[in-house]
Subunit: 175 residues, 2 copies
Protein backbone atom coordinates (compact mmCIF):
# COMPACT_ATOMS: atom_id res chain seq x y z
CA UNK A 1 0.00 0.00 0.00
CA UNK A 2 1.65 3.21 -1.12
CA UNK A 3 0.89 6.36 -3.03
CA UNK A 4 3.04 9.08 -4.51
CA UNK A 5 2.32 11.17 -1.49
CA UNK A 6 2.89 8.41 1.06
CA UNK A 7 5.97 8.08 3.21
CA UNK A 8 9.12 6.29 2.19
CA UNK A 9 8.20 3.06 3.97
CA UNK A 10 5.07 2.93 1.87
CA UNK A 11 2.27 2.81 4.42
CA UNK A 12 -0.36 5.55 4.39
CA UNK A 13 -0.20 7.34 7.76
CA UNK A 14 -3.02 9.80 7.32
CA UNK A 15 -5.84 10.67 4.92
CA UNK A 16 -7.64 13.89 4.12
CA UNK A 17 -10.80 14.31 2.11
CA UNK A 18 -11.42 17.95 1.15
CA UNK A 19 -14.63 19.45 -0.21
CA UNK A 20 -15.47 22.97 -1.28
CA UNK A 21 -18.56 24.49 0.26
CA UNK A 22 -20.65 27.67 0.18
CA UNK A 23 -21.66 27.02 3.78
CA UNK A 24 -21.51 24.19 6.28
CA UNK A 25 -22.75 23.59 9.80
CA UNK A 26 -21.54 20.95 12.24
CA UNK A 27 -22.96 19.94 15.60
CA UNK A 28 -20.24 20.03 18.25
CA UNK A 29 -22.41 19.19 21.26
CA UNK A 30 -25.64 17.21 21.23
CA UNK A 31 -28.72 18.60 22.96
CA UNK A 32 -29.11 17.67 26.62
CA UNK A 33 -32.02 17.94 29.05
CA UNK A 34 -30.85 21.45 29.95
CA UNK A 35 -29.24 22.79 26.83
CA UNK A 36 -29.88 22.99 23.11
CA UNK A 37 -27.39 21.36 20.75
CA UNK A 38 -24.37 23.51 19.86
CA UNK A 39 -23.20 24.09 16.31
CA UNK A 40 -20.28 25.70 14.52
CA UNK A 41 -20.77 27.24 11.10
CA UNK A 42 -18.60 28.37 8.21
CA UNK A 43 -19.27 30.29 5.01
CA UNK A 44 -17.48 29.79 1.69
CA UNK A 45 -14.38 27.68 2.12
CA UNK A 46 -13.34 24.09 2.59
CA UNK A 47 -14.39 21.13 4.70
CA UNK A 48 -11.46 18.93 5.73
CA UNK A 49 -12.19 15.34 6.85
CA UNK A 50 -9.20 14.03 8.80
CA UNK A 51 -8.15 10.45 9.58
CA UNK A 52 -4.92 9.34 11.26
CA UNK A 53 -3.54 5.85 10.80
CA UNK A 54 -0.86 3.94 12.72
CA UNK A 55 2.50 5.69 12.45
CA UNK A 56 1.13 9.24 12.03
CA UNK A 57 3.38 11.85 13.66
CA UNK A 58 3.43 15.59 14.36
CA UNK A 59 5.74 15.96 11.37
CA UNK A 60 3.10 14.40 9.14
CA UNK A 61 0.44 16.70 10.62
CA UNK A 62 2.59 19.70 9.60
CA UNK A 63 2.79 18.42 6.00
CA UNK A 64 -0.96 17.72 5.95
CA UNK A 65 -1.88 21.25 7.06
CA UNK A 66 0.55 22.84 4.58
CA UNK A 67 -0.85 20.74 1.74
CA UNK A 68 -4.53 21.21 2.67
CA UNK A 69 -4.32 24.99 3.02
CA UNK A 70 -1.89 25.78 0.18
CA UNK A 71 -2.96 23.44 -2.62
CA UNK A 72 -5.10 25.16 -5.26
CA UNK A 73 -8.41 23.33 -4.83
CA UNK A 74 -11.03 26.10 -4.69
CA UNK A 75 -12.65 27.82 -7.69
CA UNK A 76 -11.57 31.48 -7.71
CA UNK A 77 -14.00 34.28 -6.77
CA UNK A 78 -12.96 35.99 -9.99
CA UNK A 79 -15.17 34.55 -12.75
CA UNK A 80 -12.57 35.39 -15.43
CA UNK A 81 -9.96 33.25 -13.64
CA UNK A 82 -9.95 29.61 -14.72
CA UNK A 83 -7.30 28.50 -12.26
CA UNK A 84 -8.14 27.28 -8.79
CA UNK A 85 -6.78 28.96 -5.71
CA UNK A 86 -5.86 27.77 -2.24
CA UNK A 87 -8.22 28.37 0.68
CA UNK A 88 -5.65 30.85 2.08
CA UNK A 89 -5.66 32.80 -1.20
CA UNK A 90 -9.43 32.63 -1.70
CA UNK A 91 -9.55 33.42 1.28
CA UNK A 92 -12.11 31.08 2.81
CA UNK A 93 -13.19 29.48 6.05
CA UNK A 94 -12.09 26.03 7.15
CA UNK A 95 -14.23 23.36 8.84
CA UNK A 96 -12.29 20.39 10.20
CA UNK A 97 -14.15 17.12 10.84
CA UNK A 98 -12.52 14.06 12.44
CA UNK A 99 -13.43 11.06 10.31
CA UNK A 100 -12.05 7.75 11.52
CA UNK A 101 -14.19 5.83 9.00
CA UNK A 102 -11.83 7.02 6.23
CA UNK A 103 -9.22 4.60 7.56
CA UNK A 104 -11.34 1.49 6.98
CA UNK A 105 -10.60 -1.30 4.55
CA UNK A 106 -13.36 -3.64 3.37
CA UNK A 107 -13.20 -7.28 4.41
CA UNK A 108 -16.15 -9.22 3.09
CA UNK A 109 -19.20 -7.09 3.85
CA UNK A 110 -17.63 -5.38 6.88
CA UNK A 111 -15.20 -2.49 7.19
CA UNK A 112 -12.15 -3.08 9.38
CA UNK A 113 -10.26 -0.36 11.19
CA UNK A 114 -7.03 -2.11 12.31
CA UNK A 115 -4.87 0.55 10.72
CA UNK A 116 -6.46 3.47 12.52
CA UNK A 117 -4.37 5.13 15.19
CA UNK A 118 -5.20 4.58 18.90
CA UNK A 119 -7.85 7.06 20.04
CA UNK A 120 -5.66 9.04 22.49
CA UNK A 121 -2.84 9.45 19.97
CA UNK A 122 -5.37 10.47 17.31
CA UNK A 123 -6.89 13.04 19.64
CA UNK A 124 -3.51 14.70 20.24
CA UNK A 125 -2.64 14.81 16.55
CA UNK A 126 -6.12 16.12 15.76
CA UNK A 127 -5.71 18.99 18.26
CA UNK A 128 -2.33 19.77 16.73
CA UNK A 129 -3.89 19.72 13.24
CA UNK A 130 -6.62 22.17 14.31
CA UNK A 131 -4.18 24.53 16.06
CA UNK A 132 -1.85 24.61 13.03
CA UNK A 133 -4.79 25.43 10.74
CA UNK A 134 -5.83 28.25 13.09
CA UNK A 135 -2.27 29.59 13.18
CA UNK A 136 -1.99 29.43 9.38
CA UNK A 137 -5.21 31.38 8.83
CA UNK A 138 -4.11 33.89 11.44
CA UNK A 139 -0.72 34.35 9.76
CA UNK A 140 -2.34 34.90 6.35
CA UNK A 141 -2.92 38.66 5.99
CA UNK A 142 -5.76 38.12 3.50
CA UNK A 143 -7.59 35.56 5.64
CA UNK A 144 -7.13 37.61 8.82
CA UNK A 145 -8.28 40.89 7.24
CA UNK A 146 -11.41 39.27 5.84
CA UNK A 147 -12.21 37.60 9.16
CA UNK A 148 -11.91 34.03 7.90
CA UNK A 149 -11.96 31.40 10.60
CA UNK A 150 -11.39 27.77 11.47
CA UNK A 151 -14.09 25.59 13.08
CA UNK A 152 -13.51 22.05 14.23
CA UNK A 153 -15.58 19.05 15.21
CA UNK A 154 -15.00 17.26 18.49
CA UNK A 155 -12.84 14.15 18.24
CA UNK A 156 -14.86 10.98 18.86
CA UNK A 157 -18.29 12.68 18.59
CA UNK A 158 -21.05 11.93 16.13
CA UNK A 159 -20.70 14.53 13.36
CA UNK A 160 -24.21 15.87 12.70
CA UNK A 161 -23.67 17.97 9.65
CA UNK A 162 -25.16 20.00 6.80
CA UNK A 163 -23.50 21.53 3.76
CA UNK A 164 -24.35 23.48 0.63
CA UNK A 165 -22.00 23.68 -2.34
CA UNK A 166 -21.83 24.84 -5.96
CA UNK A 167 -19.78 21.75 -6.85
CA UNK A 168 -18.38 19.52 -4.14
CA UNK A 169 -14.98 19.06 -5.82
CA UNK A 170 -13.97 16.21 -3.53
CA UNK A 171 -10.20 15.77 -3.25
CA UNK A 172 -8.29 12.97 -1.58
CA UNK A 173 -4.82 13.46 -0.12
CA UNK A 174 -2.78 10.68 1.48
CA UNK A 175 0.37 11.12 3.56
Amino acid sequence: MATESANSNGAVKAKLVLQQCLSARLQVQPATEYEEAKYVEIGKGIIIYVCFMNGATEGIVEKMVKCALNTCLSPSEDPSATKRVSVLDLPGDVLIIPQATLGGTPKGKQMQYHKNIAKDDGKKLYSYFVSLCEASLHMSEKAREQGKHVCAGTYGNLQVFRTDTNGPFTHLLEF
Copy 2:
Protein backbone atom coordinates in the same frame (compact mmCIF):
# COMPACT_ATOMS: atom_id res chain seq x y z
CA MET B 1 0.72 2.92 -5.92
CA ALA B 2 -1.39 0.10 -4.57
CA THR B 3 -3.87 -0.70 -1.88
CA GLU B 4 -5.25 -3.94 -0.50
CA SER B 5 -8.28 -3.46 -2.64
CA ALA B 6 -6.40 -2.52 -5.80
CA ASN B 7 -5.88 -4.83 -8.75
CA SER B 8 -3.05 -7.28 -9.11
CA ASN B 9 -0.86 -4.94 -11.15
CA GLY B 10 -1.02 -2.49 -8.29
CA ALA B 11 -2.46 0.65 -9.87
CA VAL B 12 -5.70 2.08 -8.52
CA LYS B 13 -8.26 2.01 -11.36
CA ALA B 14 -11.20 3.61 -9.61
CA LYS B 15 -12.12 5.39 -6.39
CA LEU B 16 -15.34 5.73 -4.47
CA VAL B 17 -16.05 8.07 -1.59
CA LEU B 18 -19.27 7.15 0.23
CA GLN B 19 -21.18 9.28 2.72
CA GLN B 20 -24.34 8.57 4.67
CA CYS B 21 -27.06 11.19 4.45
CA LEU B 22 -30.54 11.98 5.75
CA SER B 23 -31.28 13.84 2.56
CA ALA B 24 -29.37 15.22 -0.42
CA ARG B 25 -30.19 17.29 -3.47
CA LEU B 26 -28.13 17.61 -6.63
CA GLN B 27 -28.58 19.95 -9.58
CA VAL B 28 -28.64 17.99 -12.82
CA GLN B 29 -29.36 20.87 -15.18
CA PRO B 30 -28.46 24.52 -14.64
CA ALA B 31 -31.10 27.21 -15.10
CA THR B 32 -31.43 28.64 -18.61
CA GLU B 33 -33.21 31.70 -19.97
CA TYR B 34 -36.34 29.58 -20.47
CA GLU B 35 -36.21 26.97 -17.73
CA GLU B 36 -35.52 26.72 -14.03
CA ALA B 37 -32.64 24.55 -12.84
CA LYS B 38 -33.47 20.86 -12.44
CA TYR B 39 -32.65 18.86 -9.34
CA VAL B 40 -32.76 15.26 -8.17
CA GLU B 41 -33.32 14.46 -4.51
CA ILE B 42 -32.91 11.50 -2.18
CA GLY B 43 -33.93 10.76 1.40
CA LYS B 44 -32.00 8.64 3.88
CA GLY B 45 -29.30 6.63 2.14
CA ILE B 46 -25.85 7.05 0.68
CA ILE B 47 -24.07 9.46 -1.59
CA ILE B 48 -21.50 7.78 -3.84
CA TYR B 49 -18.78 9.94 -5.42
CA VAL B 50 -17.26 8.07 -8.37
CA CYS B 51 -13.93 8.53 -10.13
CA PHE B 52 -12.46 6.32 -12.86
CA MET B 53 -8.74 6.20 -13.54
CA ASN B 54 -6.79 4.81 -16.50
CA GLY B 55 -7.34 1.07 -16.86
CA ALA B 56 -10.85 0.98 -15.35
CA THR B 57 -13.05 -1.66 -16.99
CA GLU B 58 -16.65 -2.87 -16.89
CA GLY B 59 -15.47 -5.74 -14.66
CA ILE B 60 -14.16 -3.21 -12.15
CA VAL B 61 -17.46 -1.30 -12.30
CA GLU B 62 -19.28 -4.52 -11.35
CA LYS B 63 -17.01 -4.98 -8.30
CA MET B 64 -17.45 -1.33 -7.32
CA VAL B 65 -21.24 -1.51 -7.36
CA LYS B 66 -21.29 -4.79 -5.43
CA CYS B 67 -18.95 -3.37 -2.79
CA ALA B 68 -20.71 0.02 -2.50
CA LEU B 69 -24.20 -1.43 -2.13
CA ASN B 70 -23.40 -4.51 -0.01
CA THR B 71 -20.78 -3.27 2.44
CA CYS B 72 -22.19 -2.47 5.88
CA LEU B 73 -21.61 1.29 6.04
CA SER B 74 -24.93 2.73 7.24
CA PRO B 75 -26.11 3.01 10.84
CA SER B 76 -29.13 0.73 11.30
CA GLU B 77 -32.66 2.15 11.69
CA ASP B 78 -33.01 -0.07 14.76
CA PRO B 79 -31.53 1.89 17.69
CA SER B 80 -30.79 -1.34 19.61
CA ALA B 81 -28.58 -2.59 16.76
CA THR B 82 -24.94 -1.54 17.03
CA LYS B 83 -23.86 -3.06 13.74
CA ARG B 84 -23.99 -1.15 10.50
CA VAL B 85 -26.02 -2.36 7.56
CA SER B 86 -25.67 -2.07 3.79
CA VAL B 87 -27.74 0.46 1.87
CA LEU B 88 -29.67 -2.46 0.32
CA ASP B 89 -30.51 -3.82 3.79
CA LEU B 90 -31.30 -0.40 5.30
CA PRO B 91 -32.92 0.03 2.74
CA GLY B 92 -31.96 3.51 1.56
CA ASP B 93 -31.74 5.71 -1.49
CA VAL B 94 -28.58 6.15 -3.54
CA LEU B 95 -27.25 9.39 -5.05
CA ILE B 96 -24.37 8.94 -7.48
CA ILE B 97 -22.11 11.92 -8.23
CA PRO B 98 -19.31 11.83 -10.81
CA GLN B 99 -16.21 13.28 -9.16
CA ALA B 100 -13.14 13.45 -11.38
CA THR B 101 -11.28 15.56 -8.81
CA LEU B 102 -10.88 12.42 -6.63
CA GLY B 103 -8.29 11.16 -9.13
CA GLY B 104 -5.91 14.07 -8.59
CA THR B 105 -2.44 13.89 -7.12
CA PRO B 106 -0.77 17.00 -5.71
CA LYS B 107 2.31 18.33 -7.47
CA GLY B 108 3.62 21.44 -5.78
CA LYS B 109 0.58 23.64 -5.17
CA GLN B 110 -1.42 22.23 -8.10
CA MET B 111 -3.44 19.06 -8.51
CA GLN B 112 -2.65 16.92 -11.55
CA TYR B 113 -5.12 14.59 -13.25
CA HIS B 114 -2.91 12.50 -15.57
CA LYS B 115 -4.25 9.26 -14.18
CA ASN B 116 -7.92 10.06 -14.79
CA ILE B 117 -9.60 8.10 -17.56
CA ALA B 118 -10.39 9.80 -20.90
CA LYS B 119 -13.76 11.60 -20.71
CA ASP B 120 -15.64 9.40 -23.23
CA ASP B 121 -14.49 6.17 -21.58
CA GLY B 122 -15.36 7.56 -18.17
CA LYS B 123 -18.82 8.53 -19.38
CA LYS B 124 -19.54 4.98 -20.59
CA LEU B 125 -18.33 3.39 -17.35
CA TYR B 126 -20.30 5.93 -15.34
CA SER B 127 -23.53 5.07 -17.22
CA TYR B 128 -22.83 1.39 -16.59
CA PHE B 129 -22.22 2.11 -12.88
CA VAL B 130 -25.55 3.97 -12.61
CA SER B 131 -27.50 1.27 -14.47
CA LEU B 132 -26.03 -1.50 -12.28
CA CYS B 133 -26.98 0.42 -9.13
CA GLU B 134 -30.52 0.85 -10.46
CA ALA B 135 -30.75 -2.85 -11.29
CA SER B 136 -29.42 -3.83 -7.84
CA LEU B 137 -31.98 -1.69 -6.01
CA HIS B 138 -34.69 -3.04 -8.27
CA MET B 139 -33.65 -6.64 -7.56
CA SER B 140 -33.65 -6.05 -3.80
CA GLU B 141 -37.13 -6.90 -2.52
CA LYS B 142 -36.75 -4.63 0.52
CA ALA B 143 -35.56 -1.63 -1.49
CA ARG B 144 -38.20 -2.12 -4.18
CA GLU B 145 -41.07 -2.55 -1.72
CA GLN B 146 -40.11 0.59 0.17
CA GLY B 147 -39.76 2.57 -3.04
CA LYS B 148 -36.05 3.33 -2.68
CA HIS B 149 -34.45 4.86 -5.72
CA VAL B 150 -31.21 5.79 -7.44
CA CYS B 151 -30.45 9.33 -8.60
CA ALA B 152 -27.40 10.29 -10.57
CA GLY B 153 -25.53 13.45 -11.50
CA THR B 154 -24.67 14.23 -15.09
CA TYR B 155 -21.14 13.30 -16.12
CA GLY B 156 -19.01 16.37 -16.78
CA ASN B 157 -21.47 18.86 -15.20
CA LEU B 158 -20.86 21.14 -12.26
CA GLN B 159 -22.36 19.33 -9.24
CA VAL B 160 -24.39 21.93 -7.33
CA PHE B 161 -25.27 20.08 -4.20
CA ARG B 162 -26.74 20.15 -0.70
CA THR B 163 -26.77 17.47 1.99
CA ASP B 164 -27.90 16.91 5.55
CA THR B 165 -26.56 14.09 7.71
CA ASN B 166 -26.51 12.79 11.26
CA GLY B 167 -22.85 11.82 10.90
CA PRO B 168 -21.20 11.89 7.51
CA PHE B 169 -19.31 8.57 8.00
CA THR B 170 -17.07 9.13 5.00
CA HIS B 171 -15.67 5.90 3.55
CA LEU B 172 -13.04 5.49 0.86
CA LEU B 173 -12.91 2.44 -1.40
CA GLU B 174 -10.24 1.88 -4.04
CA PHE B 175 -10.32 -0.69 -6.83
